[in-house]
């Protein structure tokens, strides 16, 4: 036993054991502490995660609110821009309209000189394009085009549209139907057709013609615009189709810069007035075929009054005396039955005998002269003399008497005495 106690190894073992024991105890204590801490941290993490979710939800809410407010602000700004632009465009529209009237008058006034007339036509052409642009922007801003007072034949609507584009001389119109467009739709259809023609002439070679065919179909009348350009890709067709039947009001900023608003304008007008526009087919010349379909509601068979009949001061009452030359009928080329309007006989003011008013005793026709014929020019103007005083009248009568007396006498010796 002593040997064991005295063995240093024994003491070393005991020391080691004690140290190990202490270490184990200590490790255990640490472990417990760590576990506790771990649990605490875990709880804390849970709380934080909960808070994080909360914050995320809050942020999403804020984001949605922000988006909604942004959309509100945007639409407010859009509305404001539109209303300002609309008011500005209204001024421009009426100015263009006024200018067109001035140009019309100038053309009639100076129409005799071919050079001046040609220059006035060039101004007119530019002004028409300007007016169309103003109308287009006004429509996109929710404004109106202006309303024509009278119905117009589809052919004339097509010609009016032709006049509003730059390369109008490339357009050929073939009318196989003769209907009239009701007055409220005249301007919108002309503007839409002009936009389609502008596209057709812009995206096809300058030498190729652009054709308008007017055809009656079972649902109304079609205006078909064919160009000989390259046509449109599927993407462009989709974009055009979306613009031509708009689901929501357009924003001005979505038109791009420079803005392409032809289809947008067409779509808005078509929706507003109830006709359809499509550009998804291919023309016989490989380009785009654009079709406007006017339903029966926008068509009428009402006669189109030519300007000469509509605005004649005495009104459209033809004179119907039998021998008077035939009254003139002005009619549309393809619609004799629909648009006939009678004018007064032309020879009313032209050459030709007046109708007899009776016969003489000898059986010859009696005619009344239509206007006095003067072979001898009047020596002086037959303007009414100003009223004379009695003294003047008396002296004039005296002079007359003296004159007749001097005329009867062969000698004139008294003349000197009278004058003295």
């Amino acid at each position: 036993m002593t040997s064991l106690v005295q063995d240093p190894v024994f003491w070393v073992l005991i020391a080691v054991t004690l140290v190990a024991l202490a270490a184990v105890l200590r490790a255990r204590r640490t472990n417990v502490g760590l576990r506790k801490r771990n649990a605490d941290l875990h709880d804390e993490r849970g709380t934080l995660l909960g808070k994080f979710d909360e914050l995320q939800a809050h942020q999403a809410g804020l984001r949605a609110q922000f988006a909604a407010e942004l959309a509100d602000v945007r639409s407010d700004a859009e509305e404001e821009t539109k209303s300002v632009l609309k008011a500005a465009m209204r001024t421009l529209q009426s100015l263009a309209d006024e200018q067109q009237i001035v140009i019309d008058q100038a053309q009639k006034k100076y129409g005799e000189d071919p050079q001046i007339l040609a220059d006035l036509m060039a101004i007119d052409h530019t002004n028409s394009q300007f007016g169309r642009r103003a109308q287009g922007i006004a429509v996109l801003c929710g404004g109106w085009l202006g309303r024509r007072e009278s119905v117009a034949s589809v052919y004339d609507v097509a010609r009016s549209a032709q006049g509003r584009i730059r390369q109008f001389d490339r357009v050929r119109i073939h009318a196989q139907a003769s209907f009239s467009v009701v007055s409220r739709a005249v301007e919108p259809v002309a503007v839409v057709l002009a936009e389609l023609l502008a596209n057709a002439t812009k995206y096809s070679a300058p030498s190729t013609p652009v054709e308008i065919n007017i055809k009656a179909v079972s649902k109304g009348v079609c205006l078909i615009v064919d160009d000989g350009g390259l046509g449109m890709g599927q993407e462009e067709k989709d974009r055009a189709a979306a613009l031509l039947s708009p689901a929501a009001p357009l924003t001005i900023s979505s038109l791009g810069n420079p803005p392409q608003f032809g289809f947008a304008v067409s779509g808005m007008l078509a929706t507003r007035y109830g006709f359809t526009v499509s550009v998804d087919s291919v023309s016989p010349y490989g380009g785009v075929r654009a079709v406007i379909l006017l339903p029966d509601e926008l068509l009428t068979t009402e006669a189109v009054l030519p300007p000469s009949a509509a605005s004649r001061p005495q009104g459209p009452t033809p004179i119907q005396q039998p021998p008077a030359p035939q009254p003139v009928a002005v009619e549309h080329p393809e619609s004799p039955a629909e648009t006939t309007t009678q004018l007064t006989p032309v020879s009313d003011s032209g050459p030709g005998p007046m109708p007899p008013v009776g016969t003489t005793a000898g059986g010859l026709p009696k005619r009344r002269r239509s206007s006095p014929v003067a072979v001898v020019p009047p020596a002086q103007q037959s303007t009414p003399e100003p009223a004379r005083s009695n003294q003047e009248t008396a002296s004039l009568l005296g002079a007359f008497q003296r004159g007749t007396r001097s005329g009867r006498t062969t000698t004139t010796h008294t003349e000197g005495q009278e004058n003295s």
Partner: protein, 124 residues
């Protein structure tokens, strides 16, 4: 969006004159002066496809001679445009034209006086 009632009436001409001429050069005044008289040749049938303006000219001029100025005034078109329309009709051989009649030759006042005096001497 404005109410439909706010729609302004548009009063300017609907068909522009350069569309009627289709951008062609305008003829000089030589062929048709303002007082040239024109009429459609007798017994002509209007061609099937006439523009509305040509049709109006046709109908207006088939009743007898009218001056160019009068045709323009009736159609409410510039004279230059009417001149082009008339040139078209003339080129197709449908139009007769004749220069305005010369102004009436007025009898000399002196001769009239002599005749009057002679009559007075004879019957007075």
């Amino acid at each position: 969006m404005t109410a439909p009632g706010e729609e302004q009436p548009v009063t300017s001409g609907f068909i522009r004159s350069y569309v009627i001429t289709n951008g062609r050069d305008l003829p000089d005044a030589d062929g048709f002066s303002l007082v040239t008289l024109v009429t459609i040749a007798p017994d002509r049938e209007p061609p099937a496809r006439l523009s509305p303006e040509l049709r109006s000219v046709w109908d207006l001029c088939s009743g007898g001679y009218l001056s160019v100025a009068e045709v323009a005034a009736r159609l409410e078109l510039p004279v230059g445009v009417v001149r082009l329309l008339l040139t078209d009709l003339a080129d197709q051989g449908h139009l007769l034209r004749r220069a305005a009649p010369p102004p009436a030759q007025l009898v000399d006042r002196k001769i009239l006086k002599e005749v009057l005096h002679g009559l007075q001497r004879r019957f007075g």
